[in-house]
Symmetry: C2
Subunit: 339 residues, 2 copies
Amino acid sequence: MSETATICRSLVLSRRPEGEPRPGDFSLRETPLPEPGEGEVLTRTLLLSVDPYQRRRISGPPSSEPLLALGAVMVGESVGQVLASGDAEFRPGDIVVGSRGWQTHSVSAARQLTKIDTAAAPLGAWLGVLGMPGTTAYSGMRDIGQPQPGETVVVSAAAGAVGSVAGQLAKRAGCRVVGVAGGPDKCMWVQETLGFDDCVDHRSGDFADALGEACPLGIDVYFENVGGIVQEAAFARLNRHARVVMCGMIAQYNEKELPPGPNLGFVVSRRVRIEGMIVADQPERLVEWRALAAPWVRDGSLRHRETLIDGLERAPEALRQVLRGGNFGKMLVRLARAE
Amino acid sequence: MSETATICRSLVLSRRPEGEPRPGDFSLRETPLPEPGEGEVLTRTLLLSVDPYQRRRISGPPSSEPLLALGAVMVGESVGQVLASGDAEFRPGDIVVGSRGWQTHSVSAARQLTKIDTAAAPLGAWLGVLGMPGTTAYSGMRDIGQPQPGETVVVSAAAGAVGSVAGQLAKRAGCRVVGVAGGPDKCMWVQETLGFDDCVDHRSGDFADALGEACPLGIDVYFENVGGIVQEAAFARLNRHARVVMCGMIAQYNEKELPPGPNLGFVVSRRVRIEGMIVADQPERLVEWRALAAPWVRDGSLRHRETLIDGLERAPEALRQVLRGGNFGKMLVRLARAE
């Protein structure tokens, strides 16, 4: 089918969402399949990566980058397969990863694509555990969290693509690792499959007390993905000289008005360090992380999981789900299979 | 007079203050003058240091140390003169600094006192610019703020004992330095005497806008001493990769209920580092700082100022004043003159 396709289908931003993103915020655009020029590569999309940061690109206050223009193709990482190449390094059939957006086909500059080793890990892993989310966890723990043996590390959104890796890294560092996740199924997976020491359900009524019980010696590193009540409960239990990796605050990405945050008096008295990060600031970490983690994925010691939704038109729904915590591990949208 | 004194007068905590500390929160206790034992030194107090952190030792949630017990002598640094010594390193007449509390005399372990060079700087300087507050400014800028040439540095409580030094250090580092202080007299002193590039009055109605105008390129380092509206205005203008030295939040030290703080979403998007510090954690910094700064005090290139109140019984009033911003530079209470 795809070899004979002559049309590229794209989802473009047609309206800035208020609250949860809805299908009507995007519209389908069909354009003739472009031809790759010199140094360019035509690919068809196999898998789209769906990540919480994407919500911040389409409405609300600009975050790390300006808002996406109305009418532009929705941004995002994806895995694709080369159909035609104007660059000597890529050949038809190669599998690549890159920032290719929500569309069935894309012409990219060759230097913006990375060829991946399909024998090393399943395709989806290159967008999750071995992609941007895994690198985010690595970078945050390496540069900010710096967990030491015996310390207590709490990871929010522990069943998500970033949190699942962050917690496993803290386990490798010899820490007591406590996850926070939504619902008993995720908590069980985090504890039994990922090997966290404990996992607390933030939907349970006594969440703050339960987190306290799971961290009898307090919290030395908090890896923040969600904000809201989870942040409040974790901050209340931070030890002296604790580090907070500020990676994301998913709980508020659909909000128009941001709620107030914590009074920061404790930062002084407990000498806490709270530090924000954006993985794209240090592109070299991606290369480092893939070299480090690919063997762990291969030998099964670094666990990962994907949630797969089929069809380009369902990408907005996938984004809504990922903001609701409707994903186990990495959220992916499948557009086609490799051939 | 003091040579013949046989009574030690102390202010002890008699009631936990609610809101501003009042004279009735302390009571005067008279005890016979103690004799120094082996390895101990009897001193009479010349100057008491009055510092915002003292408020946090007497009521409210415990901060870096537990609350002072009711009936105990109020804690604090002071300068004293040796009357009698059971230690070979100290002789009558020596001037010392140490944590001797709010009392006219004290017997201290010799190792808890430091002899000071009275020719190098005026006595009060050893409690201010060359004491704990100066070291706090040094340590916070050295270890957390790390101001780089050309960056914009904002210092709150800029006319205080810590802020005045913090800003001068940032000037030495080649930064644009903007102070925040209460009232036109302080702002003028900060700008004209301390040499800050600008100083904004937080009591003026358009404070937040004025701070923005004073920082046209945003803020790279914020040295936080006060909290409240100053924190809010400064945080709103932090640049990417900004550092916040969390040294104190004086504005809320009299509060029973802490107000909410900032939503921390910006920490992620702007990759901000917010870090708390307590100078006592690194006692080696005091020695470093004194060696570095004593020549600057001597040659007049590091400016300082003291606000002096006379009489032990007025120490609670001095503490109340320092929390209201009633001090220029270092707040001191004079009990006696050196002889």
